[in-house]
Amino acid sequence: MAIITLAELVEDASRLGVSIGAIVRAREAEQSGRAEDDLNSDMQERLGVMRSAVSCGLRGVRSRSGLTGGDGPRMAAARLKVSTICGEPLDSAMAYALAVAEVNASMGRIVAAPTAGSCGVLPGVLLSVGERLCVDDSALVEALFTAGGVGAVIERSSTLSGAAAGCQAECGSAAAMAAAAAVQLAGGSPGTCSHAVALAFKGLLGLVCDPVAGLVEVPCVKRNATSVGLRLLLQTWLLPGSEASFLQMRS
């Protein structure tokens, strides 16, 4: 899919009065020769895999190494029983992100978004914010196209590989993608989405990849949850109108 800069996506979306995701989907359709309805069903299927991974993780899983598992259900139970400091949607977002990352570590089925190691961030943010705002699946699907477009820009201008550029490339990118998606769900403009991307990177730039025993478990699983936390903080910050001093992503 030919996406070069975030600025270009914002410009097209603003001019046509549509979301970044709508532009991304149209370009994918143009390049692949597939109908937009087909692309929507593929993305809907991925949303389904994300939901199944959340349910699976909340029932409780354990990794092959025994290093991770069980934090998702623990967080989910806590949000119902005790009055937590942050409340919703953060509590659910963290529970979902942990659940999905733990499913990944236990060799369960997930959507790499953008990578397997950072697979909890997008479902954590999208599903919790979606529940909070009562949006339908078509809005979540469009938000996933927005997230995908942001990921494509990052991949083109640098990398999504933690092995190559550290965790900033995985959880950092996932948080940036989720940031744009969630701001869109909350009614933010394409321009505000791009500020969310920039702010997410400001928060996570420099994050190293140094997992215990070389496994995608410690600190990866919990870092999915902290990335979700950072992401939701950004939304609170941006929607009143604050802006990031702009970080232009160009190759």
Partner: protein
């Protein structure tokens, strides 16, 4: 060609796109190269595959691929038991040091369904993408993302011309091609990646070209 579904995706069994999903694809490609379900496999792991395979399920994913499972198959964690059930005898070796190979590399020595033996070397090069770098003694270089024809033949003038003109009459478009040989006039191998599937008839016609020993038509190893 990049698609958005490689950013929001692939759908896969965890925990690692390179150590798990890529490993399953190497297994799938090796299965196609040996012509179906192998009865025996000796797998040597190199580099990061050698040091972290247990925690990433690299061993299970390689076996699962040999059994024909895609990277999103939820039976991957059970691959060892399923291998026993389907009569695939697997052994693993850990390479002590791995000079000159990509960090995520596996060598699969396979005994195929009709007693054919093949050695396949593959690397997982990031995000679940793979490269097959060796088949038997031949250096190759293909990703498994397209249909491919692998033809072994006796090195002599005109063989490639005959294969490619046959493909042209079948309306099969060539995407990339690599030809190598053991020595002048010795055994040679052509890997031809193509845009369309190659029919059984076309494969049979190629295998009847004088000087051609064997022709494999490999389906793409799904990229998602």
């Amino acid at each position: 060609m990049k698609t958005i579904f490689n950013i929001i995706g692939p759908v896969m069994v965890g925990p690692s796109s390179s150590h798990t999903a890529g490993a399953a694809r190497i297994g799938l490609a090796a299965r196609a190269i040996v012509g179906g379900q192998p009865s025996r496999a000796v797998i040597t792991l190199y580099g990061s595959f050698a040091t972290t395979y247990a925690g990433h399920g690299t061993d299970l994913a390689l076996i699962a691929g040999l059994l024909g499972m895609e990277p999103d198959d939820e039976r991957i964690p059970d691959a060892r038991r399923l291998a026993v059930e389907s009569g695939l005898d697997v052994g693993f070796k850990i390479a002590e040091d791995s000079p000159d190979v990509h960090p995520n590399t596996a060598k699969l020595e396979l005994e195929g369904p009709r007693g054919t033996t093949r050695t396949v070397v593959g690397s997982s090069v990031g995000g679940g993408s793979i490269l097959i770098t060796r088949i038997d003694h031949f250096k190759v270089d293909f990703s498994g993302e397209s249909h491919a024809i692998v033809a072994s033949y006796r090195d002599q003038p005109g063989i490639i011309a005959k294969i490619t003109s046959l493909l042209a009459t079948e309306d099969v478009n060539i995407a990339s091609m690599r030809v190598s040989r053991e020595a002048k006039h010795a055994r040679a191998l052509a890997i031809i990646e193509v845009d369309q599937p190659v029919s059984d008839e076309a494969r049979a016609l190629i295998s009847r070209i004088s000087g051609v020993d064997e022709v494999m038509a490999l389906p793409p190893v799904s990229s998602d």
